[in-house]
Symmetry: C2
Subunit: 333 residues, 2 copies
């Protein structure tokens, strides 16, 4: 069933049908009613491909995520989908599983669909793809890259100030020896977080112990492994801060396995505030990143890029907030 057929049946032209469907005001009320009747009778659904073809835009957005196993990202998806679907737009989702090749592949697929914008959350990607993307003039927004460019915006979490808050909290509670489990060494996001940790330490006049800087992989197993390494150290820290909650949960699990009491014998602070934080025992103190705000910012960046005549991408920053639960001990009591 096509618009032309509907038109024929309703005794009008396809142009009129199109106008009715798109709510154009320049259609006689009676005609419109008649058309609508036919439309309903045949439960007509216009072909979006044709629409996209003529309009040159698709009302589809693309979201590229690195790990659908991590609630942080699926929460982001959740929030992002809520926005697009509320605007009657579609969402193309892709998962790179940390593979740069897959990033290329799905960007290409999205470009084929002529998406109206791409939200790229794949920190492992170098600048290469972006430059090649520019020629297609698709609004792009990235997460935690900390740099913008033509057609590409970025929203970054303010790790520094968040980690400062965490350090202050730990310091107040009497912690002096604090370890950090980061992400995969080499990735830019990992460096950012580790540097932020180091800076936060010094800002609070806390000493940095090299062996307290451990590498993780943003996943629980990495957190568990790093925790084991920390526990093997001659001098144990009293608290561990992690690059993300998923890591923290893994660390906690290892501690639980070994019968080491949290927070009595070891304190933990995570990052993100994924729902598991309040599902595990003890509930995890963490630095909360609001995924709704994140999604809103990213969507807005994309939308701005589409709407405004200005091609320049912007830099957005989002604060994380310390959420105190039960994984940090007060050593001063």
């Amino acid at each position: 069933m096509s618009m032309t057929q509907i038109a024929k049946i309703a005794g009008v032209s396809s142009a009129t049908v199109s106008r009715v469907i798109n709510g154009s005001p320049l259609v006689n009320a009676e005609t419109a009613a008649r058309v609508r009747e036919v439309l309903e009778k045949f439960a007509f659904i216009p072909d979006g491909n044709a629409t996209a073809l003529t309009r040159g835009k698709s009302d589809i957005f693309g979201l590229i995520l690195p790990d659908l196993t991590n609630p942080y990202f699926t929460d982001l998806l959740d929030s992002f989908e809520a926005i697009t679907s509320s605007k009657d737009q579609d969402l193309l989702t892709a998962n790179t599983r940390f593979s740069p090749q897959r990033v290329e592949a799905c960007i290409r697929r999205m470009l084929m669909r002529r998406v109206d914008g791409i939200a790229l959350v794949a920190s492992e990607v170098e600048t290469g793809p972006f430059e090649s993307l520019m020629r297609y003039r698709v609004p792009l927004v990235t997460l935690d890259r900390g740099q913008a460019g033509e057609w590409v915006s970025d929203v970054s979490i303010d790790f520094e100030s968040a980690l400062e808050d965490a350090m202050r909290h730990l310091k107040q509670y009497g912690h002096r020896k604090i370890a950090f489990i980061g992400g995969v060494a080499g990735l830019k996001t990992s460096t950012t977080r580790t540097q932020a940790f180091i800076k936060a330490l010094s800002k609070n006049g806390l000493r940095l112990f090299e062996e307290y800087l451990q590498e993780g992989n943003y996943r629980p197993d990495g957190g568990a492994a790093a925790m084991s390494r920390i526990l093997a150290l001659r001098h144990l820290p009293s608290a561990v801060v992690t690059a993300n909650d998923f890591t923290a949960v893994g660390a906690l699990q290892r501690l639980n396995e070994l019968g080491i009491s949290v927070p009595r014998q070891m304190s933990i602070i995570g990052f993100d505030d994924i729902s598991i934080c309040s599902l595990v025992h003890p509930q995890l103190t963490t630095l909360s990143v609001c995924r709704d705000s994140l999604a809103r910012l990213m969507y807005q960046a994309l939308d701005d890029g589409r709407t405004s005549q200005d091609k320049r991408g912007r830099l957005y920053t989002l604060k994380a907030e310390l959420v105190i639960r039960h994984s940090v001990a007060n050593l001063k009591q």
Copy 2:
């Protein structure tokens, strides 16, 4: 940049360019090479909307999920995406958040995109939408509805045999008083699971206590609330089985909060085997549903519907497997 332009530059017709792009064998190697050169030079990406329009199919699949907060569903998404992207197909994701209205809305959007198939995981939906869908002849596959029809297949988890395994396990360990936390009353999937539990009890010669049948909501808070209700009972069960892991995790959390030791004072068995199961303490014994198999089955059902001339949908069943971890006590020791 369009195919016609590429054609002009390469000094051929757009048909030839099309052939080159689609790897048609009937193109002279030299011509092909020349075209490819131009294609590369301009980093040409064909317009998928035009392709979809002419071909009448889009190479897009739709996946409709009820709750992106539940790892069970995002795992399914993960697996499903792996399949589609490996075939260079796109995936439109939608989240209904348990709202039937949103189901309608996103089905409509997917129909507009002329998706090649829809995987609908939204148990709360009545048959209505399906019948109206049939007229569009889009392959559809549902989860846990247990019925097929024209153009709609279904893959269902075999709750009965899974729960029988669970009951046998509990019985062997000396459990006699077993509670069940189900889903939202009224939903078909909930009834299915509760009935399966009841049947499994009787198959194992175990007695059913009406007050041990508690309602949940498939989410942790529902599990926690139900657990509280169970704990308020005069005669406590020694074990609790839940309709899904998310519920079990909530129940466990409540138990942990109250200082009730699992499994010493209360045993738990979940359903699904989401990753949190091995992240919480103690690690949860559960009935594992392989999401990869699930996704593969659903995809296959969709693909069959597309390929085969036979319009009939099929019924698929997937077994769940008991995974023994540390949340069930052996009362006989």
